[in-house]
Each structure stands twice: as structure tokens, then as C-alpha cells.
């Protein structure tokens, strides 16, 4: 038995509480700032307790827009972020579950080649090939479209690898039994494999939704119209004016709104999130 000392627990609680405090502090300040009026925030002597302008700030941000240079209501930006994140998550799951199915359950010429072609994409994030990708998207006339926001980001290997790994653990007897019952490839996929994959699909969905929601560089490059921006870009645009003109209370309200959906996903689907994170990375 390892010795148990009460002061040991007290130190642990103290360190962890300090950690939670550090982690929560910037967000707490943002929430507080979103409840004060502009003068209080810009004055530099903002109190650390909530003010009385919360409703006004959030109303202005969501329905009227917070930026003087690009007054786009945050409601619209939230919708754009949601469509982009959903598109990336669902798109990635669809194309990668199909390709993993082909690689694991079929034998055909160039099977290994196909797998490696997909695998190599793991190594190069979009950041290192931004301008050529931009040009491709521009040539395809997909600037300022949801397709342009979504498609380049679903070209990645993580999903295929994850599904391949999972399919390898599915017992062969299941396929043999299905075949004896007369099921073809579609039937087996739909009735047997897909129901078994629900947890893997959900875990991948959680991770990819957060990934899609938090994209920055790519939407920044390919959206020129304010109405196509995502919320993360929207916050940035609110702050490009000179500091005295930037409406920090609205930017902070927007930041709170931008954090809510992905944070809610992590907190309420913690089990799936942890599983997805550990499995996609390893």
C-alpha cells in the first residue's frame, strides 16, 4: 500500500484549483466584459463583476453586428460556422468510411497504392499549401461558397485510418455469416458494419466538428464577402479598427458566442470527445 497523507490531498486540491482558475480566468473576463458598456471596458478600469448591459450587447452583436467596418450580424456568422463545421464533420466521415471499407474488405489492384495516397495527406496540413490550394478553389469558382470552405478541409487521412483500425477489429465471422445469409457488399455495410461503427462515427464527429468550427486561416483566405465569414473570422475583423474605436464589449460577446457550441460539445459529450481525441491521434 502506498502511504496516504492528508496534506498530500490538500496540496493536490490546491494545485488543481489554481489550474482551474488559470484556465477559467480569460473566459471569465470575457464574459464580464460582454456585460459592460463600451465606456467601462475601454476605460481600463473594468470591475470583475458583471455589469448591466448584457442583453443590449448580445442583442446588438447577434442581430445588428459588432463591427463598424463590416457590420455583419453574428447570427449569420454563427450559421456559417455551423454549416461549415457540420459539412466538414459529415463529409469527412462519409468519404473516409467508404474508402476504409474498400481498403479493408476488398482485394483489388493498386489497393496498397490507394491506401498510401490517402495516408501521405496526414503529413501536410493546409497551412503549408495555402496559396496553390487557394488558386485551385478560385479556378473552380468556389470562393465565398460553402463548398470552398468545406471541401479542401475534408481531404485528410485521419478518418480513413480510424475506420480502417476499427474495421480490422470486427470479427471475420460476421462477414462470413452475412455472406451465407446471402448479403452482398451493400447489405453487409448497411446492416452489419454501420451499426457497429456508431461509436467510432460519433467520436470522429465530435473531433471534426470542433476542428471545423475553429478553422481560421482557410476561411480568412477564401471569404471576401462579409456574409460568408465564420464567427472566428468575424471577431478578428471587429478588432482591426484602431483600438479606441473597436467595440470590445461586442467583440467579447461574440467571442463568448463563438466558444459556446464547441465547448458545449466537449463538456456534454466528454466520453466521446476523449475517445475520439485519443484514437484519431494515436
Amino acid at each position: 500500500m502506498v502511504e496516504h497523507r492528508p496534506w498530500n490531498d490538500i496540496i493536490a486540491y490546491a494545485i488543481l484549483t489554481l489550474g482551474v482558475f488559470i484556465v477559467a480566468f480569460p473566459v471569465y473576463v470575457a464574459v464580464i466584459a460582454s456585460t459592460h458598456d463600451a465606456a467601462t471596458v475601454v476605460g481600463g478600469r473594468m470591475p470583475l463583476s458583471p455589469g448591466g448591459h448584457a442583453l443590449e450587447n448580445y442583442y446588438r452583436a447577434v442581430f445588428l453586428g459588432g463591427s463598424r467596418t463590416a457590420p455583419e450580424p453574428v447570427g449569420r456568422l454563427l450559421l456559417n460556422s455551423f454549416i461549415t463545421a457540420m459539412g466538414i464533420a459529415v463529409g469527412k466521415i462519409c468519404i473516409s468510411i467508404l474508402s476504409a471499407y474498400a481498403v479493408v474488405y476488398f482485394r483489388f489492384p493498386f489497393r496498397k497504392t490507394a491506401f498510401w495516397i490517402i495516408f501521405v495527406t496526414l503529413m501536410l496540413p493546409v497551412e503549408v499549401r495555402i496559396y496553390p490550394t487557394y488558386k485551385v478553389v478560385a479556378d473552380l469558382r468556389m470562393l465565398d461558397t460553402y463548398a470552398g470552405l468545406i471541401l479542401p478541409l475534408i481531404a485528410s487521412a485521419t478518418g480513413t485510418l480510424l475506420f480502417r483500425q476499427f474495421f480490422m477489429t470486427v470479427p471475420d465471422e460476421l462477414l462470413e455469416a452475412s455472406r451465407i445469409d446471402g448479403a452482398g457488399p451493400f447489405r453487409f455495410f448497411w446492416d452489419t458494419l454501420l451499426p457497429l461503427s456508431v461509436t467510432t462515427i460519433s467520436a470522429l464527429f465530435v473531433i471534426q466538428f470542433i476542428y471545423g468550427w475553429n478553422q481560421y486561416l482557410w476561411p480568412l483566405l477564401i471569404t471576401t464577402q462579409d456574409s460568408m465569414q465564420t464567427i472566428v473570422i468575424g471577431i478578428r475583423k471587429m478588432l482591426v479598427t484602431t483600438d479606441e474605436l473597436a467595440e470590445w464589449q461586442l467583440a467579447m460577446a461574440t467571442a463568448v458566442l463563438a466558444m459556446l457550441p464547441p465547448v458545449a460539445v466537449v463538456v456534454f459529450m466528454q466520453r466521446l470527445f476523449v475517445r475520439g481525441l485519443v484514437e484519431t491521434e494515436k
Binding site: 473576463v29 503529413m123 474495421f167 478588432l239 466528454q270
Partner: protein, 294 residues
């Protein structure tokens, strides 16, 4: 590992199943990546109308630039600080959360949610707290006699970017360290305790070495994180400034191509980055499994 039971009859079906992913990969991955390599050997005029083959000129120009070495150094300093700090802080918190505490699951939830915050948003939050004129913590800093101004002072800007990046990355490292700690057999630790080793000694001689595969894995992931995912933080907080003090290599690819219009030079930088990332990934695959095990 291969499946022994497979479908044999259909010839075209597997290609049809692969088609969506392969098409998207070719159009948005291989084609642009090859264009980046090609473009790095070319020079284009400002309007993109004429381009001529210039061989290695872009690379020569790149490696003759003092700014490029500065960006390399900035990247090195930045990644060392962020990886070092976020790994040690996360390990400290994870080793406390690994103790048999009643409230440990609650603490876990509170530690991991910053993972979900977008890097750019994290940057904006920290910028707001430390903003020279309106930041909540800027005044106390000045009260301590520090002339705090991340908009003008390169070191202050770097400190701010590092803090935001570390804050965001602690969640991820915490989660993996906690999983690693929980997979260490309790019997080993008990054996150490019976032999008279105290908590600190047990940590450094038993737990830390057994944790080394996790640590190494996280080290590589963190370096890749610092290279790419911190773009949003840097752009939101400093825009690469002041005077290039926070311009990392990835930021320079963006800035040179977009603001400077030097597409050839930007492409050459992309290629250098690709090589670095491929090397890092290769190191990860080669050594993570084999070397770092006791």
C-alpha cells in the same frame, strides 16, 4: 494485418467506394502541393500573367534573407517555450488529478474544455486581458514597474503569444498525461513505496520514466501544434509584429504570399516547411514505438 474474409466478386465497386476521397485528395491536396513545388522554381510578375523558370533562385533568395533566419529562430524559441511550458504544467496538473481524489472527474472536465476554444479566440481573450491600455492585468503589471506594451515591445508580444498558446494546449496534454498515468500499474508504485521511496522519488524514478512514450508522443504533437495551429493566435494577437518579433515560419509563408505578393518565395518556404513536417512525422513513426520504452 490483413482481413482473411473479403468480398471477391465485384471489380468496380472498391474503386467507386474510394473515388470520392481520392478525387478530393487529388484536387485539393496533390495538385496544390505539386503546384507549390513547381512554383518554388518559378518567378511570377505581380499580376500572375508571366512566369519564368528560375531554378533554385527562390531558395537562394530565401536563404540569403536575414528575415528568414529570424523567423526560424522565432519559431525555435516559440516552439521550445510553448512545448516546454505546456508539457510541464499539464504534467503537474495531471499528476495531481491522478491521485485518488473524490473531485478528480470534475477537475478533469474543467481542465479539458479549452481544447474546444479556437486558437484565434484564445488569442483575442489573452490580448484583451493584457491589452496595454484596457487590459485587466496590464495595470497591475505596470504597477510592478514593468513598462508593459505588447504592441511595441517584441519580447512582451512573444510572451503574450506564448501564454495564449500554452493556455490552449494544456488541455490536450493534460488529457494524454492523465491517460498515461492511469495506465501505469499500481503494483509498481506500491513496490517503490514498500522500498521506502517517497512521493517525489517515486515520481522521478518510476512514474516519469514509465511515462516517456506519452511524453515523446506529446512532444512531437506539440511541435506540430506550435508550427501550424498557432497561426490563428499569432494573427489575432500580434499580426506577426512588432517588427517581425512574432513572425514564425508558417506566418511568413502567409505574410510573404499575401501581403508581399512574393508567391515564388512563399512557395519555396512552403516546400521547406513540408520537408520539416515530413521529417518530424517520420521521426515520430520511427522512434515513438521502438526507442522510448523501458
Amino acid at each position: 494485418m490483413e482481413k482473411s474474409a473479403v468480398f471477391n466478386g465485384s471489380r468496380l465497386l472498391p474503386y467507386a467506394l474510394l473515388a470520392p476521397q481520392l478525387i478530393i485528395t487529388f484536387v485539393f491536396f496533390y495538385w496544390p502541393a505539386s503546384q507549390a513545388v513547381l512554383q518554388s522554381f518559378k518567378r511570377e510578375d505581380a499580376f500572375g500573367l508571366v512566369s519564368e523558370f528560375v531554378g533554385l533562385e527562390n531558395y537562394q533568395a530565401l536563404f540569403a534573407q536575414p528575415e528568414y533566419y529570424k523567423a526560424m529562430l522565432t519559431t525555435l524559441v516559440f516552439s521550445t517555450l510553448v512545448a516546454g511550458l505546456s508539457l510541464s504544467i499539464a504534467l503537474l496538473f495531471a499528476s495531481q488529478a491522478d491521485k485518488n481524489l473524490k473531485a478528480a472527474p470534475v477537475y478533469k472536465t474543467f481542465m479539458i474544455w479549452p481544447y474546444a476554444v479556437a486558437p484565434a479566440v484564445a488569442g483575442v481573450l489573452w490580448f484583451f486581458i493584457f491589452h496595454p491600455s484596457l487590459g485587466t492585468l496590464a495595470r497591475p503589471l505596470r504597477g510592478l514597474g514593468l513598462d508593459w506594451n505588447p504592441l511595441l515591445d517584441g519580447n512582451h508580444a512573444m510572451a503574450l503569444v506564448v501564454m495564449s498558446a500554452v493556455w490552449k494546449q494544456i488541455a490536450y496534454n493534460f488529457l494524454f498525461f492523465l491517460a498515461g498515468l492511469q495506465s501505469i500499474p499500481k503494483s509498481v508504485i506500491e513496490a517503490g513505496a514498500i522500498d521506502g521511496a517517497g512521493p517525489m522519488r517515486r515520481f522521478w524514478t518510476i512514474i516519469f520514466p514509465l511515462l516517456s512514450p506519452t511524453t515523446f508522443f506529446l512532444l512531437v504533437v506539440n511541435v506540430v501544434y506550435v508550427f501550424f495551429d498557432t497561426f490563428g493566435i499569432i494573427d489575432a494577437v500580434t499580426g506577426g509584429g512588432p517588427a517581425g518579433a512574432t513572425t514564425t515560419m508558417v506566418y511568413k509563408v502567409y505574410a510573404d504570399g499575401r501581403l508581399g505578393g512574393d508567391l515564388g518565395g512563399s512557395a519555396a518556404q512552403s516546400v521547406v516547411l513540408m520537408v520539416i513536417v515530413i521529417a518530424l512525422t517520420a521521426v515520430q513513426f520511427k522512434y515513438v514505438e521502438r526507442r522510448v520504452q523501458y
